[in-house]
């Protein structure tokens, strides 16, 4: 149930994102730093007089978009490499596992800074920075699944029939990892949102004037005494975003799990 509510909200935000464009860009300095629940500004305004509600929603949109794109890349790359490594073992596994270890341990901030230096900070560099490293965790888990699945008798049966390896992976392993992939994917989006927020907090994310929650948080830090809501609102928004994707993940898991491990009647 909650799954649909969360899913619905996410969908709304994503769709609304582009059209909010006017609202969050409108700077009215005379209206700066208004409190929440002031007339015309439900969540108040930022130091430059821009409406916080619009900015938050827009920031959410940015987070969701980046989260989804990065996760999509991670899932595809991670799944392909994880399945290949787990099924074929040997040299392929050694190489891919080495790559996983490197990516897993590489400091993301360093990479973000490097990319920002090379191509300038912004949308692309954030996506690249996170995607280049994020796939590793996914690949590792999928590799684990592949290792287990390849020992299952139905895989043996397919090989005994003479089905070539790549086809075995596509027809037997892939469908059997789809369910956990979907669940994990949702959780991954959530964690990507946090990473993105962190990067933009440091100024490495999307650049002004496009709002991003991390950047809003950074801005709000300067006004913690005077106008604490400037920091609180983006913080709560990030938390809500993460929460909603976790709920989606939980919901998917509940729907898919019983089918995965159905007890023998």
């Amino acid at each position: 149930m909650l799954l649909f509510v969360a899913g619905g909200l996410i969908g709304v935000v994503l769709l609304a994102f582009p059209s909010l464009h006017h609202f969050y860009l409108d700077q009215t300095l005379s209206e700066a730093l208004k409190r929440p629940l002031s007339p015309g500004h439900l969540l108040g305004t930022d130091p430059l007089g821009r409406d916080q509600l619009a900015r938050s929603l827009a920031g959410l949109g940015v987070s969701f978009t980046i989260g989804l794109i990065v996760t999509l890349i991670s899932v595809v790359v991670g799944m392909v490499l994880g399945l290949l490594a787990g099924y074929f073992r040997g040299v392929a596994d050694l190489l891919i596992s080495a790559a996983i270890d490197v990516a897993w341990g590489f400091p993301i901030i360093l990479l973000a800074v490097m990319l920002a230096g090379m191509i300038g900070p912004g949308f692309i560099s954030v996506i690249l920075a996170v995607a280049l490293l994020n796939w590793a965790g996914f690949a590792r888990i999928i590799r684990g699944y592949a290792l287990v699945l390849r020992e299952r008798e139905f895989v043996d049966a397919a090989r005994a029939i003479g089905v070539p390896s790549l086809r075995v992976i596509l027809t037997h392993l892939l469908p059997n990892v789809m369910a956990p992939t979907l669940v994990m994917g949702s959780y991954y989006v959530a964690s990507t949102i946090i990473i993105e927020a962190g990067l933009s907090f440091l100024g490495l994310g999307v650049q002004a004037p496009t709002p991003s929650l991390g950047q809003m948080l950074a801005q709000g830090r300067d006004f913690l005494r005077l106008a604490s809501w400037e920091a609180l609102i983006p913080a709560i928004t990030v938390a809500l975003a993460v929460f909603s994707f976790n709920i989606v993940g939980d919901g998917l898991r509940d729907i898919l799990d019983p089918r995965l491990s159905r007890p023998q009647g």
């Binding site: 008798e153 049966a157 005994a160 029939i161 003479g162 027809t171 037997h172 469908p175 059997n176």
Partner: protein, 337 residues
Amino acid sequence: MAFVSDPVLRGEHIGKVFPVSRDLLGRGTHWLSALEDVSFTLERGHSLGVVGESGSGKSTLARILVGLLPPTSGRILLNGRDVSERQRSWTSEVRRRVQIIFQDPYSSLDPRMRLREIITEGMWYSGLGTRQKEQRAYELLEQVGLSSSVGSNYPHQLSGGQRQRVGIARALAANPDVLIADEPVSALDVSVQGQILNLLRRLQREHNLTLLFITHDLAVARHMADSIVVMHMGKIVESAPTEKLFLKPLHPYTQALLSASLVFGRPRTARIVLEGDLANPVDPPRACRFASRCFRRIDRCIKEDPRLEPGASSDHLLACFNWVEMEKESNAASRAG
């Protein structure tokens, strides 16, 4: 017995070892001997029973014969052609000729595939169109005693016995020359075992299938096999036509196994109960592997490894230094049964 020998499958001195530990360079230092010097001949239309307990190597043999595992030594000849190259180079043409029915009906079917897809996968090499493959799948389902309408079901909707029927249908779909059944009824309820055995028997008769039937249960082997090979710790200890084996088991292990299987009608006092421990299958010494538990052990048994040789008759082979015909005992068994 065929006048013209037409061996579909021959194993010649098949051996398989697995490394159990490696040195720093990754070379094996200790080896588990899973199979040693296993030779057999399977004639067309014939049914060969391979009987053994766990650790006998029977499942390893099955996997080697189906191309899932390469033998360490020896040859496999399919229709006279040596196919024992590295398993990965078994062409699909070769693979489809030897098909296998697995023991566990719960893990041998992909839970995410519909039953008709599982069966049509067996025909993937055939070049038939989808429509034709599905048609054949429905026919096969009927042949194994299921209604063709279950084709759109998933494995979890079927019982163990029904799933095993699907496994049989899949194996037949590939139109194999040889069917290897690896303990096909061991995981099923007793009341269903008979159904599956009867089905296999009937299919074998109708299609003149060549069958290699693996089981730990001698009684089951008696039903399915024309001749039987008894395995113990990777070696063949006795080999004979079925009725000869049951009337006159010569190897002490076969005698003990028979004794343990035929529980009804046999007074407990006449039971053979083995004493002693199993030998270690890692780096086995030159000796009989059954000696540690054998009730007919003599000195020679722990110094030499007996070879498989003709015993009571030319088609009855056994590997033992001290065999004796237990005539009285085994006749009593066949009367009670």
